[in-house]
Amino acid sequence: LSTEHTFETKPSLMHRAETEPSATVSLTRDDALKLYRRMQTIRRMETAAGNLYKEKAIRGFCHLYSGQEANCVGMKAALIEGDSVITAYRCHGWTYEMGAAPKEVLAELTGKVSGCARGKGGSMHMYAPNFYGGNGIVGAQCPMGAGIALAHKYNKTGNVCLTLYGDGAANQGQLFEAMNMAALWDLPVIFICENNHYGMGTAVSRSSHNTDYYTRGDLIQGIKVDGMDVLAVREATRWAAEQCRNGNGPVVMETETYRYSGHSMSDPGTSYRTRAEIQEVRQNRDPITSFRDKILGADLVTADELKEMDTEIRKEIDDAVHAAKTDPEIGMEHLSYDIYSDDLGHNMVRGVSPFVQLPHKVTGQAVNRK
């Protein structure tokens, strides 16, 4: 087995940039195992989520990340301590990448106390250290990400904030407002459009007069990367983060990717695209299969190792599913807790009638209280 290998990735497309990431990427055996494990864990976790939804253990929305794993895994691999991330509702993979266990993700989906928001947030509202959600309103996270980057700059942390949005969200006015201010103020933010070709049932050509999302920051430098190649994503993110850390932020980054499932579980996802299209991507561009082939071909790992890892992952997810199903919901008293970050005392929260007055107290960390 080799301990390191160098791969050629598809060169990124650049916009108004003076430098560019190298298309030649080197990968250690350790990283190969790690990236594979993480992508595979997300895939299994999402498959489990889909099944839980079908069993009606998950309610409401459930937006799966399957097909897009190389994005969060590649990006996270490029981050350093203290870097932060914010995304939209398609957040399960990111929540895991930023530190939550699969069980915490799945239990949040089933609304259980062991979920990462103790079941109060649900599918779209998950948090982890330096991970600011999980946000349900299309586009809202874009200026918020710029604001997190502002805090980095303000505190001179040298960190960056990855701010993710979809191709549909890419048309939101507040994104342009945020980009303009980020550019005026040199904020260390990478605006990342995960272009999975559809916003709900609308293909990019019907939502965006310019579908080259990496050019839509106007004078902001942009980069488009193959979002199905975890190594290319890692390299592009490193480059973009470096721009920001050097004071050359912001950056707009587009990843070319694909979602296998419908928009949310209730969408079969086949009325606005053909099954053949999905099949084609799965067969030829799947981020996990292609990465597996790559690292096997380069003798970085053995098939047995991966098989064993798959078994471990399956076990971990099975356990997580079990917990997500059997763990309890949070206690009813929490209905009226954690609305404000001060204890307010008794009878402070009105229930459904004037006869129901509930107590309020803080049970969470309230990280910004001090």
Binding site: I58, R59, G60, F61, E108, G111, K112, A117, G119, K120, G121, G122, S123, M124, H125, N135, G136, I137, V138, G139, G168, A169, N171, Q172, G173, G199, M200, G201, T202, R206, S207, S208, S271, Y272, E329, I330, M332, H334, L335, S336, I339, V349, R350, G351, V352, S353, P354, F355, V356, L358
Partner: protein, 331 residues
Amino acid sequence: AQVTVRDALNGAMDEEMARDERVFLLGEEVAQYDGAYKVSRGLWKKYGDKRVMDTPITESGFAGIAVGAAFAGLRPICEFMTFNFSMQAIDQVINSAAKTFYMSAGLMNVPIVFRGPNGAAAGVAAQHSQCFASWYSSCPGLKVVSPYSSEDARGLLKASIRDPDPVVFLENELMYGTPFEVKDEMLQDRDFVLPLGKAKIERPGKHVTLVAFSRPVGICLEAADLLAAEGIECEVVNLRTVRPLDIDTVLQSVTKTHHCLTVEQGWPQCGIGSEIAARIMESPAFYELDYPVTRLCGADLPMPYAKSLEDASLPTAGDVAAAVKKALNVS
């Protein structure tokens, strides 16, 4: 015939589009996808790109476009996938649509309907569960409609589309699939319109008045059933329109029953229930009350995701029945 609320809304739009060439529908996924909740099913096939337009996810932009089109004489139906997203466009609804007729001293009326599901659905958590009835209803220049049944949906949406002024039309996702019996003559009448600003007595009764709109009307009817078994007769007032608010119907009922409860899913503070309580107080009917007006509302908190908490956040028929008994001092 049995008609779901979805089909009633769909039929209303279809007929009004057939009737008036100026009526068109725009919004996210309303065309090729048939609507996120399938309310516009078939309309794009039937009327084509010109009359049924898919928009990008840019509420402030497309609502503004819709208002501009109405200024210029068209009759847009602007769908918000849910009203939660109307917050991105609320400046256009209030400042551009609602205020212009008055600002122009009666020159430029703005015939537009903003419609979509409002309030809580199931398991969609805090950002996707807000009720906007009280906010919109506070604004002069707007009419604010919120149907309960399929009859309401049909008659009120047709009236709203024909109305010369901006109408905010608040539907409820969980009602779309609910079937209601609608009289055949109402269905066949292509001019079946219900007056905006008139409430409907859904069920007459003499002991207590229950006032609601949208889905909570059903909750009140359910509570009325429960209570009927105990000999308590509820009069259920379906407001249908929350601006103008048909306070006269409420006052008449209260004058008869001497008891009033309001039921809504929105937050309590400055809600529709608050307004009804205040209006009753300002009227002679106030002196007819044997017990203060009781408001049942969504709990005063962002909507939690977990099912048990979610359930506890909204008033149930049981809650209503218990509050009625308290008001009537029976146990």
